[in-house]
């Protein structure tokens, strides 16, 4: 009953959430404003909770590893996250634009999953959506503010962040061999449809921010593909090494 397909789907979303959570948490103590420090840290904590709940679905329904073991014992080739979430935090404009593009995608994904025929995922999606709403609200507010209501420099930096992240963001929608099976079973509509809805969601905000959305047609999407198959950027493994350091020294440690 679609076990491999569901496993693959949930692992992708859980890995995305885990890795972006770790990256967002790197702003703790470094945010450009105290409120932004708190926002990125809170969003990180939410995402970590989402990753844990997603791994837990695999653990309880399909006998997958416990959330901790799943997060801390795999090497990079076993991760299914997209390249966008792997990159270092860069400057605030980069992290903010990534946050906007990523959370818009999560919003569209969980909106689609609310009516999934795989009930545990549908239940969790309904819950998670209420939290993503805040993440997206936060991202939109700042993207518009810095794009349209800041100064020349803030506008230029947001545009360059958008140019840098947009191609990578398309890697979130790397097609999967399971897309057809998942759509036929009413579990998930497939990446092509989700990407289309994502573009419809982000375009008006980018316009409101007076920024130029790069053209999807002119981008070589395949350059940012690979994450869903276990091929990652050079940034993932060093991050995993850091993230798993305590667990590798003592798997029973509590902190």
């Amino acid at each position: 009953m679609n076990e491999a397909a569901i496993n693959n789907l949930i692992t992708q979303f859980a890995d995305d959430a885990l890795i972006i959570a770790h990256r967002n948490s790197e702003w703790t103590g470094l945010g450009p404003l105290l409120e932004e420090d708190i926002a990125f840290s809170s969003i990180a904590q939410d995402k970590l909770g989402h990753a844990q709940a997603l791994y837990n679905i695999l653990h309880t329904n399909f006998g997958g590893p416990s959330p901790d073991a799943g997060a801390f014992t795999r090497d990079e080739s076993q991760f299914r996250c997209c390249h966008l979430v792997e990159l270092p935090i860069g400057d605030y404009a980069f992290s903010l634009m990534r946050h906007f593009l990523y959370d818009a995608a999560e919003w569209v994904r969980y909106e689609a999953l609310e009516s999934s025929t795989f009930v545990p995922l549908a239940q969790l999606a309904r819950k998670i959506k209420g939290e993503i709403k805040y993440h997206l609200f936060h991202a939109k507010t700042w993207v518009v503010q810095l794009g349209a209501q800041g100064n020349e420099e803030s506008h230029a930096r947001m545009q360059s962040a958008l140019n840098e992240t947009f191609a990578l963001a398309l890697g979130m929608f790397e097609p999967s061999e399971f897309d057809g099976e998942l759509a036929a079973a009413g579990i998930y509509p497939g990446e092509q449809q989700v990407q289309q809805r994502w573009l419809e969601l982000i375009a008006p905000v980018i316009e409101q921010a007076t920024l130029q959305l790069p053209s999807v047609e002119e981008i070589d999407r395949s350059a940012s593909y690979g994450g869903r198959k276990g091929y990652h950027t050079e940034h993932l493994q060093p991050m995993l090494n850091e993230m798993t350091e305590v667990y590798r020294i003592d798997p029973t440690a509590e902190w």
Partner: protein, 160 residues
């Protein structure tokens, strides 16, 4: 042996670990209580926020309260079946939040628009002349605001 109603009543003494004025029952995180034929209580709870670190502690507190009530064995589980939102907070719960200095979340019907956060009533002077500073605060369930009337920073309990 205590009845289901008496269990609900007893659980009202279990308070939120971070907001001690509100009980878990009034917070709406306890979604079902039943007793099976063997006299074992089954309690279903649901997290406020998926990543809320206080949830394990809350479950433990519920188990301990049930043990005090004469149920050494109980089945307390977290589920997303009946997911939490702030409309599940009771009227008593909203008052308890205000008492703790937190602006209570507004009731809403249908889809929640987060623009409501912009003029959250101040928990101290009740003015609506307030500004949202950040939708994220010291815990996952709180936002940061400033009251332009009594010139006081305050926190809100986020509507979800």
């Amino acid at each position: 042996m205590p009845t289901v109603n008496e269990i609900w009543e007893a659980l009202k003494s279990v308070k939120d670990p971070e907001i001690p004025t509100i009980s878990l029952v009034d917070l709406g995180v306890i979604t079902a209580v039943s007793l099976d034929d063997a006299g074992i209580p089954h309690v279903r709870m649901t997290p406020t926020f998926v990543g809320c670190p206080a949830m394990d502690f809350m479950q433990q507190q519920v188990r301990e309260r049930l043990a005090q009530l004469g149920f050494p064995h109980s089945d307390v589980q977290m589920t997303f079946e009946d997911e939490w939102n702030t409309n599940k907070i009771t009227e008593e719960g909203l008052r308890a939040l205000n008492q703790h200095g937190l602006a209570p979340p507004p009731r809403y019907e249908g889809v929640l628009e987060l623009e409501v956060l912009n003029n959250t009533p101040c928990p101290y002077c009740k003015s609506h002349n307030t500004t949202l500073h950040s939708p994220f605060g010291p815990t996952l369930c709180r936002s940061l605001h400033y009251c332009n009337n009594c010139r006081q920073a305050f926190e809100g309990f986020k509507p979800v």
